[in-house]
């Protein structure tokens, strides 16, 4: 197939007519048996209560699952899977679909055996049990996105994976309940030379990250609850750190220890990993903030367009610097843009949902979205990012994604000029 292009006129026809053209819906020739005949579910009794004491999705939704890319990692205990973004709506990610990233498998911890220790440059080193934390005054609940710094990391050298689940699925948005980290640190009494905090997990990777004390005091949380229920084991049950707007690796799961120090520790996950190698061979470190990013989740390779006429384009936008202010969508590969409709809550450091209702006339489209946050940062193109960083930095690829929608509705991950 030739690399056809979508010009400005095509954009106007494809998108500009939304609402104007009254699409004639399919006309029924014969009566629909689903209407004219009594169906089993209209007649027979269904399951009673307690058939499924902890509810699960309909059996017709079995395809909605996290998925992994086998060639990406060497063992499933040190691996990642991806959130099926194209199957979701709204801004909250269901707990069981939140992507997983572990470095030593999922630790299985009985909450009665979990301890949280705070020590180092503090007046009073302390140990808390989960019961202590749940009785602690000042509990809060908040929604935050968590994005792995390596989300879209496979795409630095060009379009690689066909599906927003794989290109963008290392992000989730969860409503947490727990305590402001500050409340616990204040009990221990951080000394004036305490400038850094080391957070450590109780898993077999003993995950550690250094976090500046200002961030710890500003908005970090220790959370035991996600989306109203206990943390899922794979998300750090019974306790995890929440580091709003900052890369997912810092949100230490199975959190057991907080040490205060006067310098960063430069551990493996902040030297060997999660530093950004640039084209000149030097590396940025402490690149904690996740910059503004967005992706069209529908249409996308796993969710092609199925019919001409009215269609709903939708996607997600987020920024680690604040709230999403605007999302623009292009159907002609970034030549012309329309501001999308943001719907639902616009919370700082949270996923934000956008829609663009449009009529599709069967033309090829080059679909893009571009997020802008309330600091005025505008999501860059991939070539703009590469011009500054080269292609070897792995992390923090927040470049604009392009989907090619072909005439038959099939959708592909492409890169364009």
């Amino acid at each position: 197939m030739s690399d056809k292009t979508v010009n400005r006129r095509a954009f106007m026809t494809a998108a500009g007519l939304a609402g104007a053209a009254v699409a004639t819906g399919a006309r029924a020739q014969t009566p629909d048996p689903l209407i004219t005949e009594v169906q089993p579910w209209n007649k027979q009794l269904g399951d009673g209560v307690q058939a499924n004491p902890y509810g699960s999705p309909s059996k017709f939704e079995k395809h909605v699952v996290r998925r992994d890319v086998e060639w990406l990692t060497v063992s499933r205990e040190s691996s990642v899977n991806f959130t099926p973004l194209h199957e979701l709506d709204g801004i909250i990610t269901p707990s069981g679909l939140c992507f997983e990233r572990h470095h030593g498998g999922v630790a299985e911890i009985e909450p009665g055996k979990h301890r949280l220790m705070i020590h180092g440059l503090v007046d009073k080193p302390l140990v808390y049990t989960m019961d202590d934390l749940k009785r602690f005054p000042g509990r809060i609940n908040r929604a935050y996105f968590l994005e792995c710094a390596a989300n879209s990391g496979m795409e630095w050298k060009g379009a690689q994976l066909n599906g927003c689940q794989f290109t963008h699925g290392m992000v989730h948005n969860v409503w947490y309940a727990g305590l402001p980290l500050k409340a616990l640190l204040d009990q221990a009494g951080v000394k004036t030379n305490g400038k850094w905090l080391l957070a450590e997990g109780a898993d077999s990777a003993g995950m550690t990250r250094s976090i500046p004390i200002d961030k710890a005091m500003k908005d970090c949380m220790v959370a035991w609850n996600m989306n109203g229920e206990a943390l899922r084991p794979e998300q750090g049950y019974p306790l995890r750190l929440v580091v709003p707007g900052w890369e997912g690796n810092m949100w230490v799961k199975w959190l057991r220890r907080l040490e205060i120090g006067d310098q960063p520790w430069h551990h493996r996950e902040e030297t060997s990993k999660y530093t950004d190698l640039l084209a000149d061979g030097r590396s940025r470190r402490f690149t904690w903030i996740m910059d503004a990013k967005s992706v069209v989740t529908n249409p996308s390779p796993q969710a092609p367009l199925r019919a001409k006429g009215p269609n709903v384009l939708t996607g997600l936008a987020w920024s680690g610097r604040g709230a999403i202010k605007r999302v623009d969508v292009s159907l002609d590969g970034g030549r012309n843009w329309t501001t999308a409709r943001i719907e639902g809550p616009v919370l700082p450091l949270s996923l934000t949902r956008f829609y663009l209702d449009f009529d599709w006339d069967g033309r090829e489209l080059l679909v893009q979205s571009r997020a802008m946050d309330d600091t005025g940062y505008v999501q860059p193109t991939k070539s703009e990012l590469r011009a500054v960083r080269g292609v070897n930095s792995i992390y923090h690829n927040n470049g604009i994604q392009t989907w090619l929608v072909r005439g038959d509705g099939e959708t592909e991950n492409v890169e364009i000029s």
């Binding site: 030593g104 602690f136 060009g158 120090g261 012309n336």
Partner: protein, 218 residues
């Protein structure tokens, strides 16, 4: 709140002593951490050597332990068996197409090797190495990366003398200055003269795991 009331409250806080404004009211939950408990969990090491346990280990001993406990995954020469991480080599590749980021070519601090091996390796049997074994393994990994000589004995005392070559190549996040151009007013109409051309497509690579599975019901 009026400026006047703020002043009154500030004065009241001062009257209670300066510590009052600083520390939160105590909550009668949790308990003091005992020194033995802190010692059991506080195993982290810093680049300046803070946190290192007493002990030492030679490159020679390290080789033996490495072959027994690490080589199955990381390869006899640290080259990485299968897709397990490569631990050796890669010097001079950081500006190349496929950089090899190893302890020798990339890591800024030797303390990170000690800390990481001590807390997380061998994979699946973490925290099973003694302090001396960890010194020996660290020495061996440094020797394989030509940072120290083959007769080197690494210890708490000489640890700070070990320097890795790439330490100067790291600098703090500077996106707010070097990527300042991304704070801007975006273009909305006729943003490029030429129509968009497709440069590459994921389909050409075909590495997506059976991406064509649509909704299916069993």
């Amino acid at each position: 709140m009026s400026r006047f009331r703020e002043l009154v409250i500030a004065a009241a806080l001062l009257a209670c002593g300066p510590a009052f404004a600083q520390s939160a009211p105590p909550v009668a939950l949790g308990r003091p951490a005992l020194p033995q408990e802190i010692a059991a969990w506080d195993i982290d090491i810093r680049p300046d050597g803070v946190g290192l346990p007493p002990g030492k280990g030679s490159v020679k001993d390290g080789e033996q332990i490495y072959l027994e406990r690490c080589a199955a995954c990381h390869g006899e020469f640290g080259e990485g068996a299968g897709r397990y991480p490569v631990l050796v080599g890669g010097q001079g590749t950081l500006t190349k197409d496929a950089p090899d980021k190893t302890i020798g070519s990339f890591w800024p601090y030797a303390s990170t090797v000690f800390d990481y091996v001590r807390r997380a390796m061998p994979f699946g049997d973490a925290q099973s190495l003694t302090a001396d074994e960890t010194y020996a393994l660290t020495a061996y990994l440094l020797a394989m990366n030509e940072v120290v000589k083959d007769d080197f004995v690494l210890s708490k005392e000489n640890f700070a003398s070990v320097k890795l070559g790439n330490v100067g190549a790291f600098y703090d996040d500077d996106r707010e200055t070097t990527e300042k151009a991304f704070w801007r007013e975006p273009c909305m109409k006729d943003c490029a003269r030429e129509p968009a051309k497709i440069l590459n497509r994921a389909r050409a690579l075909d590495v997506t795991p059976d991406s064509k599975t649509g909704p299916k019901v069993e």
